[in-house]
């Protein structure tokens, strides 16, 4: 039996199809665009074309647009779904999931796929994927390039805790003639520091540390996180689908119960 997970994030919408609660058989990512309902519909059409009857297979939605997926049986928060999806990808023992999402960054302590404790950034978007995206735009590079540029930079620190102020700070750095690499270093450093401070407030942090979300394929982010946390942080190209996979597993569970 197929179960479907739809993760409508603020930047990207993700889809995962899991067979019998065990095997990931299909995944897809697309930009959410301005309308989460539209993204949900595009995923529905995609599922139909790929032959996975979205109306009939059990489906759970997650992400900030989770209430705008009419064909989902249930909405489950991205915290719970990332925990489940993380356990699916990285093994079911205790682990800490770090999800740098579009508008939220969260650290989640997980044991056996179940959330033990979690922390989310406050109202503002500092330290999130959106922050990175805005800074990359200011530097006229894409977010992936910014992360790799950062590797050869040093010496700059972005101190503003607000994205808007941080952008002004970056603009003055550009105006002051700072090298692009150094600014990129400052941007990544600020994101990593934000994660480290959240991580420090977790009540327990046992097992493997795993990065999920859109930055899962950035080696420099993984390296910096590992360095600052003082423990290895792993990821996988599939980790951007962790939320969608978790949702598909939740859908399978609902069907089984």
């Amino acid at each position: 039996m197929y179960s479907i997970g739809v993760d409508i994030g603020s930047t990207c919408a993700k889809l995962a199809v899991v067979e019998d609660g065990e095997t990931l058989v299909h995944q897809m990512v697309m930009p959410t665009g301005w309308n989460s309902g539209g993204a949900a519909q595009a995923i529905f059409d995609h599922l139909e074309q790929a032959g996975y009857r979205p109306g009939q297979s059990p489906c759970v939605a997650t992400g900030y647009g989770r209430l705008n997926v009419p064909y989902a049986k249930k909405a489950v928060t991205e915290i719970t779904c990332h925990a489940r999806g993380g356990a699916f990808l990285f093994g079911s023992g205790p682990c800490v999931i770090i999800d740098i999402g579009g508008q939220d960054t969260k650290v989640i302590a997980v044991a056996d796929g179940v959330v033990q404790d979690f922390l989310m950034n406050d109202k503002c978007s500092a330290g999130t994927g959106r922050f990175l995206e805005i800074m990359a735009n200011t530097l006229c590079v894409d977010p992936g390039t910014l992360c790799e540029l950062a590797r050869s930079g040093s010496g700059v620190s972005i101190s503003s805790m607000c994205t808007v102020f941080a952008e002004s700070e970056v603009i003055s750095l550009i105006g002051g003639g700072a090298a692009k690499e150094d600014i990129a270093y400052g941007v990544v450093d600020s994101i990593v520091n934000k994660v480290v401070s959240q991580y420090g407030s977790l009540s327990s942090a046992e097992g493997q540390c795993c990065l999920t979300g859109g930055l899962c394929e950035s080696p420099y982010i993984l390296e910096s996180l590992s360095k600052k946390l003082g423990r290895p942080v792993i990821s996988s190209p599939l980790a951007r689908y962790a939320g969608a996979i978790g949702a598909a597993l939740a859908a399978y569970q609902i069907k089984k119960d």
């Binding site: 900030y64 489950v76 928060t77 991205e78 915290i79 719970t80 939220d104 179940v114 959330v115 033990q116 404790d117 979690f118 989310m120 406050d122 109202k123 009540s203």
Partner: protein, 384 residues
Amino acid sequence: MSEYQLPAQFEEFTQARKEGFLRAKAVKESGGHIAGTFCTFTPCELMDAAGVHPVSLCGMSPEPIPAAEKDLPKNLCPLIKSSYGFAVSDTCPYTYFADLIVGETTCDGKKKMYELLGRLKDVYILQLPQGIDREYTLEMWTKELHRFKGVLEEKFQVAITDERLREASELRNQLRRARTALMELQKLDPPPFSGLDLYKLMDGLGFSFDLQDNLRKLTTLTAQLQSDYAAGARPVPAGQKRILVTGCPIGGVLEKTVKVVEENGGVVVCFENCGGIKPTRYLVDTQAEDIMAAIAERYLNIGCAVMTPNTKRMETLPQLVEEFNIDGILEIELQTCQPYIVERFEIKKLAQEMGVPFLALDTDYSQSDLGQLTTRIVAFIEML
């Protein structure tokens, strides 16, 4: 009989607010006096005994905040801003008609706001001792109450006798017992009441000037709920996660916290805050030889985070978790409330020791964090 004026913009008010103004005006025109209060530390027995009606002025609405921000910083507790805003904009009937406003030296934000309020109204600030473990704390607080008694006697030209203080204490005790009894019905599983309805009801009682009527309402409601429950009524479905809410007063953020809990598989069965059970379980010893000291002693039991060390809260929380069979603790704080937000460290540790999941939220009266708050609350209930 004196005539009292309504504020200039009275006609623009909503019906409910107009009624509040008219009721407060009626009290004044029948010779009554109104004292505005902000805190569960306010010794209402003294005001009752002076024939003055205490009424809570804690602002729960975002509406007057822009008016307050002309004088106060943006980055301040929404309750303080809202309360002050109501006073400067003449939009709260009870502030408008208050003969006296009574504050205490509790948190710094309130303390300094009272000073500004003093430019507009007659404000009296009691000095609440906060070093709760000192041997002279009770003596100091008793002296403060004596000083306040003198102020009331002079302002309202009354004599506050021991006999009237004992009567007032007796009635307040009965009210506290009745509130406690109603709140303790929530120990039932499933509880007979949604936490949202319970909190709103308790908050609403603070705006009635008729204490006997409040007492009757509380006892009737408790009896009614008990008999309905015995007859099989289950307004809250079984299997909801039982949540204890702790922290700041939350009348202004109920919809985006408690309501979200209760729409997503939880039910708030206990409020360990000043709108809930925190202040109601401690009574005045009405038979004590020194009734003023007995009243003072009662108030020093309140486990507010302005106290140091705040041992009472640390002792009470595990008891409540046990009594109400709690699945998760939700701490709700108003933005910039330093006493409670710093004390979180201890509460989190305590929750861990008890093995009870804990989530802390900081919020204000705006709608800007609705999405993120909802995700956190729902994820918390999912993990229970």
